[in-house]
């Protein structure tokens, strides 16, 4: 069953057709990668999915409900979490607090005036956050200020912050962009572990072919704002149209 379904989405910026009649279904319990050369409309599509951009026409349904016109926090509360290209974390706060915030957001909704309660007494939340930190091997860093960590750890933390909310769909925007090789390998391994352990649905926008082919179960190739083909990784590798549009640059 398609958990996310994009139908006939168009988006123009002035004279530029950023997205032209995009149709895309992300099936539940799969890792779906969206690839394409620079300027293919990957980021625009992602921004439509998270409510940052409103398309000129078309529909985006998540689990039977339209996401169009909803604000980012509402879309998160529907069950879509997002990992950014550069990790977006609460740099001034420590790792534990970074984990607690999504826990509270999940339990209490978009706003709650819990100004008198003490965090210390929220045993359930602390336990949940600790469990998740242990899962990504960061428990010993719980007191560390988030901004002082390495890029790889920040990515790990951001991922944990998304996962602790148990989203139904995890969106990843070039999760390994700008990473050293070792960090990239670690991130791929982390995503694989998450996939096997949690069976979570993921949509990945990615440039790095290594990442795409080691993770994805379905791949959609975007070119000039339109989906070219959608298929399994093996079929995509040999697809002539894809080679022409995208892979011609790099030997795969």
């Amino acid at each position: 069953m398609a958990i996310l379904s994009v139908k006939g989405v168009n988006k123009r910026f002035g004279g530029l057709q950023a997205l032209g009649d995009v149709n895309l279904d992300v099936q539940e319990n799969t890792v779906h990668a969206i690839i394409g050369p620079n300027g293919a409309g990957k980021s625009t599509l992602l921004n439509v999915l998270v409510g940052k951009l409103i398309p000129d026409s078309g529909s985006v349904m998540f689990d039977g409900q339209s996401v169009l016109g909803r604000k980012p926090h509402e879309i998160n509360q529907m069950g879509i979490s997002r990992v950014f290209q550069t990790p977006e974390i609460f740099g001034d706060l420590n790792v534990m607090e970074n984990m607690l915030i999504p826990c509270f957001a999940k339990r209490d909704g978009a706003f709650r005036m819990h100004a008198i309660e003490s965090i210390r007494h929220e045993k359930d939340m602390i336990e949940k956050a600790e469990e998740m930190l242990a899962e990504v091997n960061m428990l010993e860093k719980r007191e560390m200020q988030a901004s002082s960590m390495s890029r790889g750890d920040k990515r790990r933390l951001e991922m944990a912050m998304c996962l602790v909310q148990e989203p139904r769909l995890l969106l990843l925007d070039e999760p390994t962009a700008g990473m050293a090789r070792a960090d990239t390998e670690n991130t791929i391994q982390l995503l694989k572990d998450i996939r096997t352990k949690r069976g979570i649905t993921m949509a990945i926008i990615e440039h790095d072919m290594n990442v795409v082919f080691s993770l994805a179960e379905r791949i959609t190739v975007l070119a000039q704002g339109t989906p070219l083909v959608e298929d399994t990784p093996d079929n995509i590798k040999g697809h002539p149209k894809v080679r022409e549009a995208y892979l011609g640059e790099a030997q795969v």
Binding site: G91, A110, A115
Partner: protein, 397 residues
Amino acid sequence: MLGLTKKDSTLLLVVFGLVMLAPFILNPFPEGSAMAQFNAGYPDLMQRFLIFGIFAIGFNLLFGLTGYLSFGHAAFLGVGSYAAIWSMKLVTLNVIPGILLAIAIAGAFSLLVGFVSLRRSGIYFSILTLAFAQMSYALAYSVLTPITGGETGLQIKNTDNPLFGALNPGEIGRANLFGLEMNSSFELNVGNWLFTFNLGYYIAAVFMLIAFYMSIRIFRSPFGMMLRAVKSNQQRMNYTGLTPKRYTLSAFVISGMYAGLAGGLMVAMDTQVGPERMFWTASGEVVIMTILGGAGTLMGPVLGAGFIKYLENIVSKINKDILHEWFAFLPDGLEDVLVTMVYPFVGKGWHLTMGILFMLVVIFLPGGLVEGGQRMAKLFRRNKAADAQDAASKPAE
């Protein structure tokens, strides 16, 4: 204690002790001695320490936690003052309803101002709040004269006859707490020392301690953590399913209510109010207090408020004659030179002293006086540890 950790309880107890014993602590010099002018233990000034402490604690909840710099907080203090004096003029001379009304009205007004101003952030937010405050000042100064008394402000007059006042015709009402007058004091003479225990001061002290306690609770609550998240990364907050704006607006209203409480207490202590209380320099003062003491810390705003009010009231009292007295032991020529050099920094020049101190703190101690204290404590501990290590490593002979 009271749902606080051990460390926070200690802090609260220390503040409680300092506030309760302030009439002693702030009067270390005997009457009539040359140093007596540095005594700050008189009711009027001690009340101001507490009231501005409350004002700064509230401001810090907004600025220290969310990073939103309001440049118009004096407007809420002023609105609170006007509300309190009207309550005393019309309803009752008891200060409690006046103070509660001040908090409520300031809260409502800050909801309006915050709702509009929080559409923007950064410098634009600051300018919007400044504009609101200056508009309030202008309204109070002229347009709304029937309500605010214009330039001369409002006082309790002999024609005022509050509903529950039971005053004789022509009698001027005095602020009281269930019949106890605010300015009643108990004086204690010990040797050459004179200690004054003033009822108004202790009423302000109770409010200040409650305000301080609430601030600790907010700092340690999930809500307080969300406010720090607003300062850190609003984008991540949005994508975590939270609304940074509603959290910021709540913080804005809470800090507006703190300002209203301060304004109400001012009227309770001294039953008059004028529009200058809302002038932009008054808004600037609370910013300086908070930054000087240490924004985002619990004690910082209290220290900053005390520090500035002390300078304002004590350093500004030093005049040329006093300076001559101090340097009288020097040869005449040298004495005059020194007095001429020091004079610009005291008396009316106290702003100069404050400005220099403020610059030094911001440059060398960005965390304010609190950071200074922490650094000193660390240095002290390190020395002690080093001494202990020395002692241990040296073989006994």
